[in-house]
Symmetry: C2
Subunit: 146 residues, 2 copies
DNA sequence: AAATGTATTTATAATAATTCAAAATAACAA
DNA sequence: TTGTTATTTTGAATTATTATAAATACATTT
């Protein structure tokens, strides 16, 4: 659904290596899962894998997500629940949180993103270096009126 | 520290009533704590209260935060940890997340906020009603280079 | 003031999400 | 192969949150 540009196992191995991570089977599987899911919680990745044959511990999923995040292959997404979410799309982009259905979807507007970043960078307190700007759009469907 | 406009017990009682909540002592205490803290997790509120004499269960803190959120007195803040945060400032405003120290601070730019909202509203998929836009600024101090 | 019904709080147990520690396994280099 | 290090597994430990049932407080009517 997301931007599906052929993520062959070879490509993934290579990407892992480039980021300084050994391409273990578990890491490849988790990365594949993340590509398929776009953004997901550790548990969601675990579920997704459970369906396949690759047996893997939940702790490993956490480990792998953590090391990939360190390596810059994933980023943590802020969430409104008490659950942590990761995203394969490491470039900044907005997210729509539909509060009545709990659905999360992407919302891309590169111009907006660039403008906001520029403006914020200009006003950032001295000594701080901007990493990225996350924009979340909270909404609900018109039928479900608040 | 935040915007400290006299939050007397009477004012709080009144605000609770206006929002359709009975002004129980626990609710008053939690709201006072939230005013003092600005944004906080349930646990942080509990700690803050523990210091005082008002004995209250952690479960009550959760209950109260939840009902205040329902009533519109608080909002949930997205977080990068697996912990839920609440905020007394229900008007939309940006937050700075300093990743090396985990500090969170407010960043106000009403013009930016308005512009972003307008632009997003214009592009929102049909059938969706915009509730609010949250902007998070991730950064680190220049000394701690990534 | 007593009685009633409802809302709220408490205490505690249960669940969910995450992390930790130690042993087992795999990968790698000498 | 052997030794070394990184990774995964298992399972327990923590942390965060929610659920349940009993106790208490509140508000209203009598």
């Amino acid at each position: 659904m997301e931007d599906r540009q052929q993520h062959t196992e070879e490509e993934i191995r290579e990407r892992l290596n480039q980021s300084g991570l050994k391409a273990t089977p578990q890491r490849v599987l988790v990365y594949e899962a993340m590509c398929a899911l776009g953004h997901a919680s550790a548990d969601a990745v675990f579920q997704h894998l459970g369906a396949g044959q690759g047996k893997m511990t939940l702790a490993t999923v956490y480990n792998v997500l953590e090391s990939m995040t360190q390596a810059g292959l994933l980023i943590r997404r802020p969430s409104f629940s008490s659950k942590m979410y990761f995203d394969v799309h490491t470039d900044a982009h907005c997210h729509i949180y539909q509060q009545d259905t709990s659905e999360i979807s992407d919302f891309c507007d590169e111009t907006l993103q660039r403008n906001v970043e520029a403006r914020i960078r200009a006003q950032l307190p001295a000594g701080l270096q901007l990493d990225r700007v996350e924009i979340q759009i909270l909404c609900h469907s018109q039928s479900h009126e608040a």
